[in-house]
């Protein structure tokens, strides 16, 4: 089974889309970063009246804030990527992934038809899916890769 076939039958909503936090438009960049740190996430979705209007990632922080600390005091709206492309929860996971690769996205927000934010699709979601899909090959490995048993002897 190829990756495409694997992911065709899954809706994007079946993957782990929990890697993001949310913040409202107008929040200071400094506060937004604090929120991301508190939520242990690298992605922040920005909303206005509950609708998604932008996205801020660790890449933006590196390229726009690390080099220019004055941006810490501006609002998140000034440095976010506005109007990100989104998919609906019933999009197939394969379509979502192919779209990400085509557009060179690392994040793809998932928003339902009523505009409600449902999650954030990432490559990590695909990695985790595959790990749990093939646990014998991927999960069941020794703690140190160089310590694979030479003799197959069971318990």
């Amino acid at each position: 089974m190829s990756l495409k076939e694997e992911l065709k039958s899954e809706r994007v909503s079946h993957l782990d889309l929990s890697r993001f936090c949310q913040i409202v438009s107008g929040t200071a960049v400094r506060q937004s970063l604090a929120n991301m740190r508190q939520n242990k996430t690298n992605v922040c979705l920005i909303t206005k009246e509950n609708a998604l209007i932008g996205i801020l990632t660790e890449r933006d922080v590196l390229t726009k804030v690390a080099t220019n600390p004055a941006n810490l005091n501006r609002t998140v709206d000034d440095i976010m990527t506005a109007n990100p492309i989104t998919v609906t929860p019933d999009t197939s996971a394969a379509d979502a992934l192919w779209l990400m690769d085509e557009k060179q996205f690392r994040n793809l927000p998932v928003v339902d038809r009523d505009g409600k934010i449902k999650g954030n699709m990432t490559h990590q979601a695909v990695i985790s899916f595959l790990a749990a899909r093939y646990p014998v090959e991927v999960l069941n490995r020794p703690p140190r890769p160089d310590h694979f048993p030479h003799k197959q002897e069971g318990g």
């Binding site: 190829s2 079946h14 970063l33 990590q124 990695i127 090959e137 694979f148 197959q152």
Partner: protein
């Protein structure tokens, strides 16, 4: 003042070569335990692993903690003594369905009943693995094994119901293949004071590989697992469209919609004894398998009760005296008597032949291998055509690091020492979480203080599955590749792995 020490997974990895069969579910459980322990808030020297006999019971060797590989079925007894003698300890019992429910069935029940402060992990694979494939106390009736060629005639034991019968104060269930769920369950168990009993469905790939079909496959598991959450209605299914309702005394699966709403469903209550019995009785595939915390109640632990009694006795009678105690009872003197040894009829010689049965089972053709499985095992990391790493010296300033990342438009720097050996990794994640807005002067700050030191690094000749393993278990976006001298020679990311698997079949 004590300085808090931050532990990480590596602190719990021992130097022993793991000897479970390749692909055994025990590996995933080991990885989860090693991942969770740094966060339970107990110093490493206060953690002990005690096991009995069986495949799972090799666990203590692989943990870099104190541990005892003890007597068959008797792990709970040693653990009981230890937990009472030193209440500071976090004591973990690792047992299996054979060791815990057959050979040591009684010890298990009574350790649970006493509410000793222990964490008992019962790896349930429904087979005897170490002795090569006989039916176990949890094997389903009719299971054909080497010791039941016409099918087992016995009724399987229900571990959760047994723990309920012994009034366990914490009962949970999880499965080896669901890392995140297992991590959370282990964490919850570690935080409970008193007995924590965790049944973990575990895949014995050699002797019982199909036991958990439907539950350990990512494509269908969410359809078949009921994830329990205290205070929440029992909804399940990949699209959260089914639920559990009570019809009289019987639980029933219902489809939501057509007049059936969340309000009709059972609501999970970790403190309800009756509900726990109902959940214990729900067997997959007739019902979804309940997973998570089934029961959690607070009760006095045995140790606390015992210490109170000792204190009370001391207050009433004063401190005891061992000699007085000895001499207060009748004493006998035992004397030696001449005896002729009893001759044994046996020679005492052990068979020196190697048992070939594992090898036979392993040599069998694997059942169904998809192209993806082949790719994960046969393609090496080198096939990802890893990018050359951009390196930076460990003494460089943060300002330089940030400049380099921006010039090269990359999210990850590999940090090396004077001998060009890998000593750390510094990523845009670190820039977000540890640097921006937190560090005053990037010119004077040194990367050594902000990087992840001694990161997991892989060799390019390992299978891609290993890269997926590290990325999934630890959430690392980047993994450096090193040569035999531990010098960086490449870097791979989430995207490289996914992209490779995607293109390989395009």
């Amino acid at each position: 003042m004590s300085i808090p020490i931050t532990l990480n997974r590596k602190d719990f990895v021992s130097d022993q070569t793991v000897r479970w069969c390749p692909g055994c579910g025990d590996y995933a459980i080991l990885a989860s335990v090693q991942k969770t322990l740094p966060d339970i808030g107990v110093p490493k020297e206060n953690i002990v692993f005690i096991s009995g006999i069986g495949c799972s019971s090799r666990f203590p060797y692989y943990m870099n903690t104190y541990g005892i590989h003890s007597i068959h079925g008797r792990a709970p007894t040693l653990a009981t003594g230890l937990a009472i003698a030193n209440p500071e300890l976090s004591v973990w019992v690792v047992t299996g369905d054979g060791d815990g429910l057959s050979i040591g069935g009684n010890h298990l029940i009574h350790a649970i009943r006493r509410n000793i402060n222990l964490n008992i992990l019962l790896f349930n694979n429904r087979i005897y693995g170490l002795t090569k494939g006989q039916y176990s106390p949890t094997s389903r009736t009719g299971t054909k094994t080497k010791s039941s060629p016409m099918g087992s005639l016995e009724q399987p034991l229900n571990p959760i119901a047994l723990a309920m019968a012994a009034e366990a104060t914490f009962i949970a269930r999880s499965i080896d293949a669901h890392t995140q769920h297992l991590n959370e369950t282990l964490m919850a168990a570690s935080q409970h004071k008193g007995i924590s009993f965790v049944e973990i469905y575990q895949n014995c790939v050699i002797f019982n590989p199909n036991e958990w079909i439907g539950l350990d496959d990512r494509r269908v598991r969410d359809e078949n697992i009921l994830y329990l959450e205290h205070g929440k209605p029992m909804i399940f299914g990949k699209d959260m469209d089914k639920g559990i309702r009570l019809n009289g005394f019987r639980p029933a699966v219902v489809q939501l919609g057509n007049g059936i709403t969340e309000d009709d469903l059972l609501v999970h209550d970790e403190t309800s004894t009756q509900l726990a019995f109902i959940l214990a009785s729900m067997e997959f595939p007739e019902f979804p398998a309940p997973m998570g915390v089934i029961r959690r109640v607070e009760k006095q632990t045995y140790t606390d009760g015992l210490m109170n009694q000792i204190e009370t006795a001391r207050q009433i009678k004063g401190n005891g005296n061992l000699r007085t105690l000895y001499e207060s009872a009748d004493l006998w003197t035992v004397t030696a008597k001449d005896q002729n040894g009893v001759a044994s009829k046996q020679t005492g010689q052990l068979s020196l032949e190697v048992d070939e049965e594992y090898v036979d089972e392993l040599d069998k053709e694997p059942e169904v291998t998809t192209a993806m499985q082949d790719r994960l095992i046969e393609d090496t990391i080198a096939a990802l055509s890893p990018k050359a790493p951009i390196t930076i010296d460990v003494s460089a300033s943060l300002a330089k690091a940030v400049r380099q990342m921006n010039t090269h438009r990359i999210g990850c720097l590999v940090v090396t020492d004077a001998h060009d050996k890998l000593v750390g990794i510094f990523t845009e994640k670190d820039v977000l979480h540890r640097v921006v807005g937190l560090v005053e002067d990037l010119e004077t700050a040194v990367i050594a203080d902000y990087m992840t030191p001694d990161p997991i690094a892989l060799k390019a000749n390992l299978p891609i599955a290993q890269a997926l393993h590290e990325m999934h278990m630890h959430g690392f976006r980047h993994i450096p590749l090193v040569d035999d001298e531990h010098r960086p020679e490449g870097i791979i990311s989430f995207r490289d792995v996914v992209h490779h698997l995607k293109e390989r079949f395009a």
